[in-house]
Amino acid sequence: MLGKYDLSTIWQFMLDRVEEITELTLEHIGVVLLSLAFASIIGVGIGLLVWNKPISRSFAVASTGVILTVPSMALLAMMIPVFGLGWVPTVIALSLYSLLPIVRNTVVGLREVSPAVMESATGMGMSKFRVLMQIQFPIAWPVILTGLRVATQLAVGIAAIAAYVAGPGLGEYIFKGLSMLGAIHALNFALVGTLLIVLIALTFDAIFILITRYTTSKGIRA
């Protein structure tokens, strides 16, 4: 199979399909960002609510962990009878998957704030809500951002499978490559799809690292 393949054709291959590739790339980024937006709001929200309530906390972490254990194909499949194909099941599944890293990191970050800091804040007359938002949250921010970063990487990878439920993104190219098994461009399709997804993931990662750097207070930067 490899004998028939010529790597130099890949550049021309991409140029010929620039529009389609751009569209798929933007779709892929879009579906990840959308899912992440939902997951962040819900996940951080859950974290803020349960961080100091042991039972709710372990339930939240355990259930989001269970979701993550479920194979992505299975979760996507289970969405279909209810939500059909396309964007909707994809976004829902990606958001659900992204919850664990976000919830767990939010909880861990909030709990790891030093007891001395907590006590002096309470002792100064800050209400519990103020302490949570003005003291704990900023200190926990780098940890929460890491959770968001991990979630994003997960989402980028899983979005690739969404193509089999007619979902958006570069997964389409990968599956196209599969369906064209034996044809000249099969490998090109799969390779371009895969490499671009890797690129998206790494770029997101780099962006997150920059965001972490610039939004973390100088006082707590390692």
Binding site: F59, V66, T69, P71, M73, I174, L181, T194
Partner: protein, 262 residues
């Protein structure tokens, strides 16, 4: 910076249970209950909806399901064991190098690997080597290496250097220290990585159906292609339960193998 990133990701994803000795936690009891409830609900659903039609009948019978389950478990466990056999020694060697270059290279490689979609790896390999069971195993091993490799390195790194120093001072050889001190202390972290790999394998093995490696993914795809939600759900629920079961068993093993006092 990427070293920090890799550490962040690995510790955030493959963390040892850290339950500090509590054997019966919510997750420990809850998971089997969840599995039983899910499977019972599925069976109830299938039996009360009446006879499966001719197309469904192909998939919704015990023979077919058990065969798929068997295939699926075989692939997952084989891959996971292979991963352990390769990645742990590799991790040990990697953690021993003083060279920052090698370490940086491995971590960058791990970073890229983490960013690669499983489906991409599988299909690319299939296009190059051909479809089938072997390709699936290779893909699963390649993809599953990361958690174990990274956690082996992290696990060994977190062993208290003073403990190692006192072992050295007692006259233990490096190999003795490795096997009697470092590895046992690193076991919780390594096992957490193994657990992640196992769950990954179950998940990725589902995708292996696309390259004719069988497994429960086939049930799902058949259900999807032929618009039979019952079949689709059966495949999805069963494979989810298997994944949960593996995670639960791995958690048990983690607790059993963890050295007392750690």
């Amino acid at each position: 910076m990427s070293i920090q990133a890799a550490q962040d990701v690995s510790t955030s994803y493959s963390q040892p249970s850290g339950r500090k000795g509590k054997f019966f936690t919510a997750k420990r009891i809850g998971t089997p209950i969840l599995i039983v409830v899910a499977l019972s609900a599925l069976l109830l659903f299938l039996y009360t909806r009446g006879e499966p039609d001719s197309i469904e009948g192909f998939a919704l019978n015990w023979e077919y399901q058990l065969a798929r389950i068997d295939e699926h478990i075989r692939i997952s466990i084989t891959a996971a064991l292979l991963v352990a056999a390769i990645a742990i020694p590799l991790g040990i060697i990697a953690s021993r190098t003083k060279s920052r270059f090698v370490r940086g290279f491995i971590t960058s490689f791990a970073n890229v690997g983490q960013a690669t979609p499983a489906i991409g790896v599988i299909i690319l390999l299939a296009l190059i080597i051909g479809i089938g069971w072997t390709t699936a195993i290779i893909a699963l091993v390649l993809y599953g290496m990361l958690p174990v490799l990274r956690n082996t390195m992290a696990g060994l790194a977190q062993v208290d250097p003073f403990v190692v120093e006192s072992a050295k001072g007692m006259g233990m050889t490096p190999l003795q220290i490795l096997f009697r001190i470092e590895l046992p202390l690193a076991v919780p972290v390594i096992l957490a990585g193994f657990r992640t790999t196992l769950v990954f394998s179950v998940g990725v093995a589902t995708i292996a159906t696309f390259i004719n490696a069988g497994g429960l993914g086939e049930t799902i795809v058949v259900g999807l292609k032929l618009s039979r939600p019952a079949v689709l759900l059966t495949g999805a629920v069963v494979v989810s339960c298997i994944a949960l079961l593996m995670d639960w068993l791995a958690g048990l093993i983690e607790d059993v193998l963890r050295p007392k006092g750690v």
